[in-house]
């Protein structure tokens, strides 16, 4: 049975924080940024079957910003794809759950880590579905800083040229990258106009508002579809929100306790 997206988002955030804290890992800010997007995808949008994870008509999700992996591992855990004993291995030597998303984990389609790979690869999947007359959809989650990679713009052109409309790109636009804001690093705005000019349908939404995410993802568009989801890096934990440092830092046990309480009480 599917869980409510609000409840799933809360669980994704809590599990992500616990995983990162236990493993001494980084990138928690990026993981919290996409928790609501993943929650809506797995609660309300995507076709999948935990009992038959590779069934042909499932929808495909590619996490192109692979460093936000704990969020996807946590989502897959809470929808019954990754068992608890495997979640507990995160951060251990030789775990299948690497610190960038890994296809060795159950329910994960593709390993990433180097940015700019997910959209071309997902486009290939969508092309295969089109060639074979299959109805499943492909979703890609990329970062806004990641849109600085030229490979994404090659894929945007191709998808529009061939009208690959079974493809949805979700850009997690938290306006933070490695050192500072995207605006100050290498500006990509006006992103919506650029993507529309490349021949895509493109909407600009609040990436933490489940109703808006649900509506944007449910829409079947006559062109390939891009959703710019405006998000807050570190969303849900007050001392992490919009702080570049939480791209790198790992919460101490005391910080973890505060974070879990804030999420529980939100």
């Amino acid at each position: 049975m599917r869980v409510l997206s609000e409840s799933l988002a809360k669980n994704i955030r809590k599990t992500s924080l616990q995983m990162v804290s236990k493993a001494g890992a980084s990138h928690i800010g990026s993981a919290l940024s996409i928790a609501d997007i993943l929650a809506v995808l797995y609660s309300d949008i995507m076709e999948f079957d935990p009992a038959n994870q590779s069934y042909k008509d499932r929808d495909r999700l590619i996490l192109s910003k692979g460093h936000a992996c704990v969020s996807l591992y946590a989502a897959l855990h809470h929808v019954g794809m990754i068992p608890n004993e495997e979640i507990l291995t995160y951060g251990q030597d030789f775990s299948n759950l690497m610190s960038h998303i890994s296809h060795k984990a159950k329910g994960v389609e593709f390993s990433t880590g180097s940015l700019g790979h997910g959209l071309p690869f997902g486009l290939g999947k969508a092309m295969a579905a089109k060639v074979n007359g299959e109805k499943w959809r492909t979703f890609i989650i990329a970062g806004d800083g990641e849109m600085q990679e030229g490979s994404n713009w090659e894929a945007l052109m191709f998808a529009a040229h061939h009208n690959v409309k079974n493809l949805t790109l979700i850009i997690d636009a938290n306006n933070l990258q490695s050192l500072t804001t995207v605006d100050k690093t290498l500006a990509i705005e006006p992103l919506q106009q650029k993507i529309e000019a490349f021949g895509w349908e493109c909407s600009d939404i609040d990436g933490h508002n489940h109703k808006q995410i649900r509506e944007a993802l449910s829409k079947l568009t006559p062109k390939p579809n891009c959703i710019i989801a405006r998000t807050t890096k570190g969303k849900g934990v007050s001392y992490m929100e919009n702080q570049v440092a939480w791209h790198y830092k790992c919460p101490t046990p005391e910080e973890l306790k505060i974070a879990l309480t804030e999420i529980e009480n939100a």
Binding site: H103, E109, F110, S111, T112, G113, S114, G116, H117, L119, P120, F121, G122, L123, G124, K125, A126, M127, A128, A129, V131, N132, G150, S151, E154, A155, M157, F158, H161, H162
Partner: protein
């Protein structure tokens, strides 16, 4: 060679609907018959190799066998990371077909010389290099590729290559294909279109050495070489690639790592050719011996 490849690809696509071709806006007067016959399985990625390779991997991840087609240097170094992370790491059935291996496009200059590509491909654990020596070997390696889905780098010459195999042959990965019988102990092994040069060598002409072609090789076939090298005293390797990381280097690693008592001479392209523009034949005269 490229026509032999295209004939085989079309024949295979007629009986298998999982085969697709993606070109990197190259292949004028070669790819048209495929594009005409299979318009739903033919795509021109445009001048965008990163997307071409990533997309090929994505299609292959859904069970298709995808062939990409371009000139040697472009779908290799330009999209090396897509080959490494997307194709090879996920062990997907993408065959990266290139024309102009070595200095076949000699007069077009360094940008078009594919002379470090073996080094890149040889470093990838799931990748097999298919570098046939003539059109007969092109057909034979294609037959192998089509039956064994995994990543391949299929490196062709340009056009007009001589045939050195008399009839259809069978190629297995890592096996040597005897072209000319000479001494049992002393051998020449050539890969790719250097087979003509190997056969024209003094050692081959005077029957001092047997001449083999090795059109399909990989990291996985290194061990097999030990059993094939067991009686060999002298080895000459031929390749149109620089010394570092190439075919001769593949054998010298095997020989030194296993303390084999074999005298090896690696005949490969000289770094002197970098920045030179001339015909393939002229550049081959600067071969390192």
């Amino acid at each position: 060679m490229r026509n032999a490849f295209m004939d085989e690809l079309i024949n295979a696509a007629r009986v298998r609907d999982d085969i697709a071709l993606i070109i990197g806006d190259l292949g004028y007067s070669v790819i048209e018959p495929f594009a005409d016959e299979f318009p739903d399985r033919f795509f021109n990625a445009g001048i965008a190799e990163q997307n071409m390779m990533g997309m090929a991997a994505g299609m292959a991840s859904e069970g298709m066998q995808v062939f990409t087609y371009s000139i040697g240097n472009f779908p290799t170094w330009r999209c090396a990371e897509q080959i490494r992370n997307d194709v090879d790491y996920h062990n997907l059935a993408v065959t990266n077909v290139v024309v102009g291996g070595g200095v076949a496009y000699g007069s077009l200059g360094y940008s078009h010389h594919a002379i470090q590509d073996y080094a890149l491909m040889r470093s990838l654990p799931n990748m097999a290099i298919a570098s046939p020596g003539d059109p007969v070997e092109v057909r034979a390696v294609f037959n192998y590729i089509i039956k064994n889905k995994r990543p391949y780098y299929l490196r062709l010459g340009k056009s007009g290559e001589e045939s050195h195999n008399s009839s259809s042959i069978r190629i297995d990965e890592g096996k040597w294909n005897l072209i000319k019988k000479g001494s049992h102990d002393n051998i020449i092994i050539s890969t790719g279109t250097m087979l003509t040069n190997a056969l024209n060598s003094k050692e081959a002409k005077e029957n001092e050495y047997s001449v083999y072609s090795m059109p399909l090789w990989s990291q996985k076939t290194a061990k097999l070489q030990l059993s094939q090298l067991v009686t060999i005293k002298k080895l000459i390797t031929y390749e149109n690639h620089l010394s570092s990381g190439g075919f001769g280097s593949y054998f010298s690693e095997i020989i030194s790592n296993n303390n084999l008592d074999i005298e090896q001479n690696s005949r490969c392209l000289s770094s002197k050719i970098i920045s030179l523009s001339a015909s393939e034949e002229k550049l081959h005269q600067l071969l390192n011996t």
